[in-house]
């Protein structure tokens, strides 16, 4: 498995775990009425979890990848990264337009913040999914 494919799996997994934890707590109703600082603390905790997973995972992947870890991205790596970023950009823009233009008329406060966060998560999932699919199934550019 290419080094960058392993990294994509790691980043996808870490992000899904940390944001699943965050949204599960945020939408559980257990923090309704709490001051903003408490919800921010939950978010900080989820980000710390993601950072720890990424740090440990990167160290393990780097150790087990040997020479591949130090190699610069080649033309295929760059092409796949560009393609994935391109697709994720459109998802991000769609979500941001929905969050920034439509939601302020129907929602307020943390609902808009969570919608923006969800937009970010979905666009990143799309990015990593395109990367993984391009490595696994092949892509001819």
């Amino acid at each position: 498995m290419p080094y960058r494919e392993k990294l994509a799996w790691l980043m996808l997994g870490a992000m899904l775990v940390s944001f699943t934890v965050y949204f599960a707590i945020a939408f559980s109703g257990s923090i309704e009425g709490l001051p903003n600082l408490r919800l921010l603390a939950v978010f900080a905790g989820a980000m710390l979890l993601q950072l720890v997973m990424l740090g440990l995972g990167w160290l393990i992947i780097r150790r087990t990848s040997g020479k591949d870890a130090g190699a610069k991205p080649d033309e295929r790596d760059r092409a796949i990264a560009n393609r994935a970023g391109h697709r994720a950009y459109y998802v991000m823009m769609t979500g941001l337009v929905f969050t920034g233009v439509y939601l302020p008329f129907t929602e307020a406060g943390w609902h808009i913040v969570h919608a923006a966060l969800l937009t970010y998560v979905i666009s990143e999932v799309v990015r990593y999914w395109v990367v993984l699919r391009s490595y696994r199934m092949g892509w001819h550019g």
């Binding site: 290419p2 591949d68 080649d74 033309e75 295929r76 790596d77 199934m137 092949g138 892509w139 001819h140």
Partner: protein
Amino acid sequence: MAEGRIDNQVRTLRFLNGEMTQAELGDLIGVTRQTVAAIEAGKYSPSLETAFRIARVFNKPLEDVFQWKE
């Protein structure tokens, strides 16, 4: 748009050239071993420059290394 695919003889030429490994070929043309593997498996079409570099390594015309099949 014309339907077709690119076939290649990279794997065969590698073996005929002193059983060159994918990593060795990758080092010569500036791509990773996994990219060479993807090219051989037909999962990735190299850029024109990389295709020419591969042909040059094996001292073959481009058409002997890569073929367009309809």
